[in-house]
Subunit: 337 residues, 2 copies
DNA sequence: CATCGTTGCTCAAACGTTTGATCAGGTCAA
DNA sequence: TTGACCTGATCAAACGTTTGAGCAACGATG
């Protein structure tokens, strides 16, 4: 390993001179030849500052952690891309932790924040944990940003505009003439599910469609939850003609189950999903979907966290720009009856 | 931040006594009461060893890096799960880097290995880079393990049994009675594509089916590549009745394109894919697939890397147990003609 | 010629941990 | 009573970096 001392020896100067030149310390006065000699020596020896030494001295690691409960969730890929890109631009690298344990003393939090491995943490709370369950984790006001979740008060959070997303999806079905709608939603404790329900209801209210009698399932965001939701829909007394699915993976499961049950999409049932992804355009029929900006959410989470670290600013962000956008494919059509 | 000094002060002993007791140094003799006092003090203060201090002294970070070119690739989720699990068991955390830049001086390698942020690196080389292009990266024999790729000589690697996977898939079509087969494969420079071709050819040879005239596309592993491959298949003079697709994402794209072109699966065309995933069972028709052990590959990569770090042992591993296994769904059937 | 200010660097401490060397005090045998 | 040995700790250096304080040399000023 090449250290500052090696570079200093080769350039014939002191360690501190090297350190200051290489890190661009403006308080140091050096002659141009010396500066060049130092830079040349560093280049020739291929010097890289040692991370641990720097971290120890500066109490900063330039590492951001992200903790997610499930890598399979379709949002993860885009989210992670956004996090990676924004982190790189801000001079950080990303450490990934997976944990579905929301307890504040969960190993992953101790490991990452407690041992000082990361400067800050982006946490996607596992679906099905009430936000107030996080109270203890956030007690000491650690540098944490929550995504898709909010905690009262002192911690930053980043949300997508779930209300608008669900509203756009619902309005699409209403515009096609559907009146008997269903909402295939996330777990009862999920905050995003709550917000998507709100958008669904707002759209109905605006269109003057009475809400009563409309089916809502709260089974979760996974493919098998979508499958189960279809069973509920088929068992309903007044079968809906259109369904808003709150997650693309669940929609894919629902679509597969529909085929198996001989339910034709979109003739018998229109399906629109909140959250677009490459998988949505390769189903049969291709899924009409509302794009959610997970990439932007990842970026915003990093920006929020970095602002928090740099200036102590805590903020809650809702990604409203660009707004959720509908892509009409072939899983929706006017009701046939 | 709680340091060893804080714990030492509270327990009324020296810093080194605390360090040795907490890290279980057997060379230290302490009375039981002192030991208890130290442990109690650490507990009460919620002491966590500072990562940077430890890393600086020990020249070990207990961090493994993984660099992948594309998070969308269906293999990533399972792979990452395996890496995470094995890393945790071995006492490491995982740092994720994304890079499609195979040059050895790519920023990500400098950042992770050069600055000593990680003890070792798991690298999935971007598809389309010849293995020998890695020569320079591996020149100084860094602690790197390659997945799905091999480099001549000194570096460890982990491969799946692609030959067997493709062979099982091909044999399934042959068993159904198909004789005009096509292979929808990865890019010409992809090592896995080469190995899957080999399995395909071996199965044909064993069945005594002449190879000439059989179509192979080398367009890549992404959904749009699968779509393009279908076009090639439709344009072929003697249209195949069965197709082996080397990647599940490509298979999904191919399936979607088939629907759009009115090609019925499996009646007009049987499709089997190498690599099973939850997406394969939710297509229409559900995809017959050969499971590949990406989770096991992730675990093996970590094990190999840790062995390398602990004992300097370099090894090349091929995951053959459990072997690739066929799951017959509805995308394959005997040829109709 | 003494004083001062500036230039161009170097010195040394500090971050928190690990670890081999050391040491005070006691016990035991000769 | 002295030396040898053991017990139960402490001391101090080191890892590589950052950074404020310090300092020698020199030209300019009074």
């Amino acid at each position: 390993m090449v250290t500052l001392a090696d570079v200093a020896a080769r350039a014939g100067v002191s360690i501190s001179a090297v350190s200051k030149v290489l890190s661009g310390d403006p308080s140091l006065r050096v002659t141009e030849p010396t500066r060049e000699r130092i830079k040349a020596a560093a280049r020739e020896l291929n010097y890289r500052p040692n991370f641990a030494g720097r971290a120890l001295k500066s109490a900063r690691t330039q590492v951001l952690g992200i903790v997610v409960p499930d890598l399979t969730n379709a949002l993860f890929t885009d989210l992670m891309d956004g996090v990676e890109d924004a982190a790189r631009e801000a001079g950080y690298v990303v450490l990934l932790g997976r944990s579905d344990d929301p307890r504040p003393d969960a190993e992953v939090y101790q490991r990452l924040l407690g041992e000082g491995r990361v400067d800050g943490l982006i946490v996607q709370v596992v679906d099905g944990v009430a936000p107030d369950g996080l109270g203890a984790l956030l007690e000491n006001n650690p540098p944490v940003v929550l995504i898709n979740s909010v905690a009262p008060g002192q911690v930053g959070s980043v949300l997508l505009d779930d209300v608008a997303g669900a509203r756009v999806a619902t309005e699409h079905l209403l515009d096609l003439g559907h009146r008997r709608l269903a909402l295939v939603n996330g777990l009862p404790t999920s905050l995003t599910a709550e917000r998507r329900r709100q958008g669904f209801r707002e759209a109905l209210a605006d269109a003057g469609v009475p809400r009563r009698g409309l089916l809502e399932t709260r089974l979760g965001y996974r493919p098998e939850n979508g499958r189960a939701a279809l069973e509920e829909i088929l068992a309903a007394p007044r079968r809906p003609t259109g369904v808003v699915v709150a997650n693309v993976n669940a929609a894919i499961g629902l679509l597969a189950a529909a085929r198996e049950h001989g339910v034709r999409v979109p003739e018998d049932l229109s399906v629109v999903t909140v959250h677009d992804s490459w998988t949505a355009e390769n189903t049969w029929p291709p899924l009409t979907a509302v794009s959610m900006r997970f990439y932007a959410m990842g970026r915003a989470a990093v920006d929020t966290l970095v602002a928090r670290l740099d200036s102590g600013t805590v903020r809650d962000v809702v990604i409203t720009d660009p707004p959720p956008q509908l892509t009409v494919r072939e899983s929706t059509a006017p009701p046939s009856a």
